[in-house]
């Protein structure tokens, strides 16, 4: 079964060995290379590390294979370097095989783990009901409203002199409630012609009032507008 997932030269080597092709002469280096080249073609960028790793493995195999095929002179001596490369390759194959088995063990553990159910967090309607209604206003929408307001007022900020404008959220809250008593109104309207300090205070007061359940937020008639209204008496 091939899943067309390139799993590297080690994987192919191991599966060939597992298929009882137990002689280096039988290891099709061409196939190893084809497999690899096909993979390279689908790669968006060249991974030098992996590419060179592959070359080392292929070269080692090729050397082993050449040695096996060529007739040897009478007193053949085993090239030390070649021996070293071979041992290294064997060690790496054993290592890959070891981690593969360890992975199978983890699979078994994960499967049992899947069968244990911990307490489920209560998706408890009661808890949800206790929260103030922010209608379907996403935090990003709130942020956008604030940004618009700040940007609008920033344009007109006169930095030649700085007056510390002291507005409390409480004052702003009183103002909002006063305005809303005559009916629902958009936030843009509430904050119209206010300076930066006031706008921010009004925004914070709006959040505060919403959290306390005194007002409700909804989408205005045009998209992106926030509409404020007094909460219905319970």
């Amino acid at each position: 079964m091939s899943l067309h997932v390139y799993e590297g030269p080690f994987h192919l080597l191991l599966s060939l060995i597992a298929d009882q092709r137990v002689d280096v002469c039988d290891i099709p280096i061409a196939r190893l290379c084809e497999d690899y080249l096909a993979r390279i073609d689908t790669m968006e960028k060249m991974d030098l590390e992996v590419t060179t790793e592959f070359l080392v493995v292929a070269a080692t195999l090729l050397a082993l294979k050449a040695k096996a095929i060529l007739p040897r002179p009478g007193d053949d001596e085993v090239d030390e370097e070649e021996q070293f490369e071979r041992d290294l390759l064997i060690a790496r194959l054993l290592e890959v095989q070891t981690f593969r088995s360890a992975g199978e063990h983890l699979t078994a553990l994960l499967e049992i783990g899947e069968r244990r159910f911990p307490p489920k967090p209560a998706t408890d309607d009661e808890a949800l009901r206790a929260l103030p209604v922010l209608a379907d206003i996403a935090p990003a929408d709130l942020a956008r409203v604030l940004i618009d307001i700040v940007r609008d007022t920033m344009r007109t900020v006169d930095t030649s002199r700085i007056v510390v404008d002291q507005v409390s959220t409480q004052e702003a809250a009183i103002e909002i409630v006063r305005v809303l008593e005559s009916g629902p109104v958009t936030f843009a309207r509430v904050a119209r012609e206010r300076n930066l300090a006031w706008s921010v205070a009004l925004f914070l007061a709006m959040l505060e009032l919403t959290m306390r359940g005194e007002i409700e937020l909804g989408e205005g008639t045009t998209v992106g507008e926030l509409e404020l209204r007094l909460a219905k008496a319970l």
Binding site: I90, R92, T98, G103, T107, P118
Partner: protein
């Protein structure tokens, strides 16, 4: 909070009502007890569960405890609890996960040297699943990110700590399989005469 003394019902209730693992330290400090006291109470609870053949078990995850239904009840319980199944991990993912578990902290480069393939996307999948996370940076040039397993990994595999993993050596190929690999890469192994020659050299 009115101070209660540490007891089995208390710990059981805390574990039951908390939708995440509860650190032994948190329980201990809330009730003026030691971590060892908590361990003793948990052990008594476990013994009680065993005695009455309960459908629940308490497991340790790192330095925390969590209560679970027993795995053998999963089919029936899953039907009621309506739990969504998490997708299986692919074999490359599992191999990579085991390399990270045993060799952590480890860089992507080191993992791909073991596996012989690029592991970027596999590591990303494991990270998205919350099983591994970046745990630091290598001190060398490039400061490659180092990866390690997360508490969620321990929870998923149901082990108290990494040291509870079986030793890696226990997964080494058995001698016959190892011999197969060695033989496959030995020039002219099928020729008995040469085989002895190579063995003599070695």
């Amino acid at each position: 909070m009115t101070r209660q003394t540490l007891s089995e019902p208390l710990v059981e209730a805390i574990l039951f009502a908390t939708p995440e693992p509860v650190r032994a330290h948190d329980i201990a400090s809330a009730f003026g007890a030691s971590i060892d006291d908590v361990a003793v109470v948990v052990d008594r609870l476990r013994a009680g569960y065993e005695e009455r053949n309960s459908g629940l078990e308490i497991r340790q995850i790192g330095d925390a405890y969590r209560i679970y239904t027993k795995p053998e009840l999963a089919d029936a319980v899953g039907h009621f609890a309506n739990r969504s199944k998490v997708g299986r991990l692919s074999r490359p993912s599992l191999e990579t996960l085991s390399i990270i578990a045993y060799r952590q902290p480890i860089t992507r480069g080191e993992i791909s040297r073991v596996r012989g393939v690029n592991v970027d996307s596999v590591v990303q999948t494991l990270t998205e699943r919350g099983l591994v996370a970046e745990v630091g940076r290598e001190s060398g040039p490039g400061r490659a990110p180092l990866f390690g397993t997360t508490p969620l990994f321990l929870e998923k595999i149901g082990l108290g700590s990494l040291s509870d993993l079986p030793p890696l050596a226990s997964f080494a190929p058995d001698p016959a399989a190892a011999a197969d690999i060695e033989r496959a890469l030995t020039a002219g192994a099928l020729d008995a005469e040469e085989e002895t020659a190579v063995a003599d050299e070695a």
